[in-house]
């Protein structure tokens, strides 16, 4: 995968050690996106919104009932349903 180091300015949020996909990442914990396990055109659509490999993503509030959830990514907030978030694979624990 592409190695990128774009500073997303998420500050000193502890990285999650256990979460494998974005859907498993607890609220407020940072994860680094590894790859998007989605069809090419959908993956590109999400990449345009900042969901790029190497970028830091922090889950924020969710709608009542747990989904969709808002994610802080690349300077903005984007809501995704769980079915989409579970296809975004995080990098294994990494020092930020």
């Amino acid at each position: 995968m592409l190695q990128m180091s774009v500073n997303s300015g998420t500050g000193a949020v502890p990285p999650s050690a256990i979460a494998r996909t974005l859907a498993q990442l607890p609220e407020g914990e940072a994860g680094v996106l590894d790859r998007l396990d989605l069809p090419d055109d959908i993956a590109r659509r999400l990449m345009e919104l900042g969901f790029l490999p190497g970028h830091i993503i922090v889950p924020a509030r969710s709608a009542p009932g747990g989904e969709p959830r808002v994610y802080r990514v690349d300077g903005s907030e984007v809501a995704l349903r769980r079915e989409t978030a579970s296809r975004l694979i995080l990098r294994a624990s990494e020092k930020l």
């Binding site: 990128m4 590109r44 919104l49 690349d74 984007v78």
Partner: protein
């Protein structure tokens, strides 16, 4: 494109911009990502000198306006084209395809732009600058506009515009479109490009390969770094407000209060205004009646056109109030939160959060509801919402329901003293419409409008104060669109119906309605509607109600020679003696499902860019209405419930 010729709004898209004193028109396109303030800037630059239409052949809206140059250029008229909000020019959606075609000059009827205004949100410059790569590679004179300058400053961000201009090889303007700061620079740029004095400089930073998104993003980051860009602090107020509006308990409560408020206002709040307008139309109609000598033309003018067009214009207060609400919700940023909260429930019906507000609005009137679906970016979800909206029990159905229920259903207590059979019947009809809507949504989304491949993605804009300017322009815009329709398609239908009801002439006088063409049609269709329990008089009523549902009440009044209102005791008695209970209940069911509304058909045609979808919708709803009314009549007649 052939289907566009009858619509004057489309003429904007089809006709080339007019030549002005022999001078050439200078075309400037505004392009930017969603939520970058594109429309706000467009409104700033054009004010009321703008028109809304659809791009030929697609559902994407096109706004064109003349720039308020205030005598800055003597030789050229500057025409602005507002393009749909896009993140890239990769043609995956209709929006991106349209943007690409317009920029390439291959969109039929839209001239190739001479210059571009690229508007970006400078509070998130890193991500927004990605769009600069494909735009600058077009090699057109481009002004890079960094919008939200006030937000950037107040939240401690910074950008060196001169350095950014060097990096990009294009002029850069830091503005606040909402507050009007720096908009002068935009006018200066257009003045320069229209006079042909702007020269192109090659960008210092070599443009990246456009297909490689990570590399484009890296390029944007490098350009930002070169221009000493410092991202602003996170919007504190937005996070604070979200902790209330998206709170697990307070969030849904506030949401319900907002929805109830919208519903109450468009339903009840608009009533005095609508009544006032109704009185005005009626009394002015009577005024005309007094001035003109009695003739067939006076009848056409007063009874046909004046009251017919009036019946449509009466909905204007409701439409304006709804759009005022939607404007406030959308501009403030709450609409995105409401969509987020509603999404889980709506997804059960195969729809999404953004469909919720339009569907609630459809309880007042399907016309503004369908116009409000523009907030849904996903085309299939938008189409599904448009197609089911007319099932929601709109206020025009109420007079029909009231008349039939009062005539045929005894007001016996059903649940306690305050909830009787009549109220129960009315509630049942609301539920019936709702069930038909969600069943249709599920049907559509599991068949022709299946859209699993497009995931639900909703960007959460920061909260902002809506501006009076933007709200009022929105209202003016929607009123123009609505009144234009009232003056064209609907006018035509009204004239045709009037002719059917008043011809052939007998001794120079209009005939009894039974002997008119409408009466003949009513009798001709009687065999078809007899199994539903309807006679030829109801047939005439159904034909007249194609213009608008509530028309049937007035028509039945004329046919039975009674006062044509839903409170008319005489009309109730006449119906009771002429219609079987089965036929009456079947008529209610028929009205719950049938698409008896010219305005809705016209607005669906406009919003979907052709006659295909309104035709399918009309056929489907009429079929459903017929079959369900038939079943209802047979069941009631068989006496199961007596």
């Amino acid at each position: 494109m052939s289907e566009c010729h009858d619509c004057a709004g489309c003429a904007v898209a089809v006709a080339p911009p007019p030549l002005h004193n022999g001078a050439r028109t200078h075309v400037v396109a505004i392009i930017g990502p969603p939520n970058s303030g594109k429309s706000t800037l467009f409104n700033r630059l054009t004010g009321l000198r703008q028109k809304v239409a659809n791009f030929p052949g697609v559902t994407v809206e096109q706004r064109v306006g003349k720039a308020k140059m205030n005598g800055r250029t003597n030789h050229h008229e500057v025409v602005l084209v507002d393009l749909p909000g896009v993140y890239s020019l990769n043609p995956r959606s209709e929006d991106e395809q349209v943007t690409r075609d317009v920029l390439a000059g291959t969109m039929p009827g839209v001239p190739k732009p001479d210059a571009l205004l690229l508007i970006l949100d400078c509070t998130n410059l890193g991500r927004h600058l990605v769009l600069a790569a494909p735009i600058l590679s077009l090699k057109l004179p481009t002004l890079v506009i960094l919008n939200m300058a006030d937000d950037l400053k107040s939240r401690g961000g910074h950008v060196d515009t001169a350095e950014l201009a060097n990096e990009l090889g294009s002029p850069v303007a830091l503005i606040s479109a909402a507050k009007g700061q720096g908009v002068d620079k935009v006018f200066q740029f257009m003045e320069g490009t229209s006079a042909g004095t702007t020269s192109l400089a090659p960008p210092r930073m070599e443009l990246p390969i456009l297909q490689d998104i990570p590399r484009c993003r890296q390029w944007a980051h490098d350009v930002g770094t070169g221009a000493a860009y410092r991202a602003p602090a996170p919007p504190i107020w937005t996070r604070r407000l979200d902790s209330v509006f998206l709170h697990p308990i307070a969030g849904p409560l506030i949401f319900l209060m907002v929805v109830a408020g919208v519903f109450q206002t468009i339903f009840k709040g608009a009533k005095p205004l609508m009544d006032g307008l109704q009185d005005l139309i009626q009394s002015s109609g009577q005024g005309i009646e007094h001035i003109l000598p009695p003739s067939i033309f006076r009848s056409l003018l007063v009874d046909g056109i004046w009251s017919g067009v009036g019946a449509v214009i009466v909905f204007l207060p409701q439409i304006l109030l709804l759009f005022l609400f939607i404007g406030i919700l959308e501009d403030s940023g709450y609409l995105a939160r409401a969509a987020l909260i509603a999404d889980r429930t709506m997804s059960k019906f195969g729809l999404q959060g953004k469909s919720f507000i339009p569907l609630i609005s459809a309880y007042a009137c399907a016309v503004p509801a369908i116009m409000a679906t523009r907030t849904i970016e996903n085309k299939r979800d938008r189409l599904a919402t448009i197609l089911i909206a007319p099932f929601m029990t709109c206020s025009a159905r109420l007079p029909v329901y009231t008349l039939i229920i009062a005539a045929f259903i005894a007001d016996r207590p059903l649940l306690g003293r305050f909830f009787g059979m009549q109220a129960g019947a009315l509630l049942g009809l609301y539920v019936l419409g709702f069930v038909a809507a969600i069943a249709t949504a599920r049907l559509l989304k599991s068949s022709i409008l299946k859209s699993e491949r497009v995931p639900f993605v909703l960007e959460m804009p920061p909260y902002r104060w809506p501006t009076l300017r933007s709200l009022s322009l929105r209202l003016v815009d929607r009123s123009k669109v609505f009144l234009h329709r009232a003056g064209t398609v609907i006018l035509l239908v009204i004239v045709v119906l009037w002719v059917l009801e008043n011809l052939p002439l007998k001794n120079g006088q209009p005939p009894e309605i039974a002997n008119s063409f409408a009466g003949m049609i009513g009798k001709a269709v009687e065999p078809a509607i007899k199994p539903l329990g309807f006679n030829w008089k109801i047939g005439i009523g159904l034909i007249s109600s194609i213009a608008a549902r509530e028309t049937i009440v007035g028509t039945l009044g004329t046919i039975y020679g009674k006062e044509g209102t839903s409170e008319s005791e005489g009309l109730r008695n006449a119906l009771r003696s002429d219609l079987t209970p089965g036929g009456a209940v079947a008529l209610l069911v028929f009205f719950a499902f049938a698409m008896q509304c010219m305005s809705t058909i016209a607005v669906v045609r406009r919003e979907t860019g052709g006659w295909k979808w309104p035709a399918i919708q009309f056929a489907y709803m009429t079929f459903l209405a017929y079959v369900c009314a038939l079943i209802t009549n047979q069941i009631v007649r068989s006496g199961i419930f007596t």
